[in-house]
């Protein structure tokens, strides 16, 4: 499982690679003006060069454009490859991490498992299964106070209640969305 620090390191890398690609593309698109500026600078710095004539300067501009375009296209291509090969992995890792954290009631109740021994863990698992049908049978009016009570208590039993209530609410939301989607498909446009 990815740790927060590892994810933050990847986040910094993606930010850096994104900035690099953006800058590389801007630089690639500015090839013509860079070549023009280069020749203008050369003409300004050297009188003999300035006197070589417009035809010579045009040739040099064309040469610089080709040279710059090749180098900048390579740099932009390398920057694209680096970002393209790491962005999807980062996105997957970040979404998985965030989803896991959202589902984990022990983030809200960090001390719930303090001093637990293997036997206590078994009891916790049994309690969760005993509690499940009770939470499933709660009315809407009962769910909110039960959730609030769990948030106030934050012990092992509270963590289980948080988990079961959240699972139930998410399931209900997901079923509602499915019904809405089915209905909207049936609706004539």
């Amino acid at each position: 499982m990815t740790t927060l620090q590892a994810l933050l390191d990847k986040l910094a890398t993606i930010t850096h690679l994104t900035t690099r690609l953006q800058a590389a593309v801007v630089r690639l698109l500015a090839v013509d003006s860079a070549a023009d500026a280069k020749v203008a600078r050369l003409r300004q710095d050297s009188e003999p060069y300035d006197l070589m004539g417009a035809e010579h300067h045009r040739k040099d501009i064309a040469h610089f454009r080709t040279e710059y375009r090749r180098a900048r296209a390579l740099a932009a291509g390398a920057a694209r490859y680096d970002l393209e090969s790491s962005a999807p992995k980062f996105e997957h890792a970040a979404r998985t991490f965030i989803a896991d954290r959202r589902r984990d009631p022990y983030v809200t109740c960090p001390d719930a498992r303090n001093h637990m021994r293997p036997g206590d863990m078994l009891n916790e698992a049994i309690y969760r299964e005993l509690r499940r049908p009770y939470v499933a049978g709660m009315t809407i009016d009962q769910l909110s106070p039960a959730y609030q009570h769990a948030l106030d208590t934050r012990d092992a039993a509270a963590a289980i209640d948080l988990q079961l209530i959240e699972e139930r609410v998410l399931r209900a939301v997901s079923q509602s969305w499915t019904k809405i989607c089915r209905r909207s498909r049936r609706c004539p446009r």
Binding site: A24, V25, R70, A76
Partner: protein, 56 residues
């Protein structure tokens, strides 16, 4: 509430990366794996140094 503050902007980062890739695509930038184009490495490194210098 359970998601660390440091990750609150993660969607913005992902979106920015997607936008940068789309822009590169529109500019006809072809992805280049330097591991397969050894001759290009030196040129790319020089260019990237120029980029970093421009941004510093």
């Amino acid at each position: 509430m359970r998601v660390p503050v440091e990750l609150h902007d993660v969607e913005t980062t992902i979106e920015a990366a997607r936008d940068a890739l789309t822009t590169a695509d529109r500019a006809a930038v072809r992805a280049i794996n330097l591991a397969h184009e050894t001759g290009a490495r030196e040129i790319v490194e020089r260019e990237l140094q120029a980029l970093e210098a421009a941004h510093a």
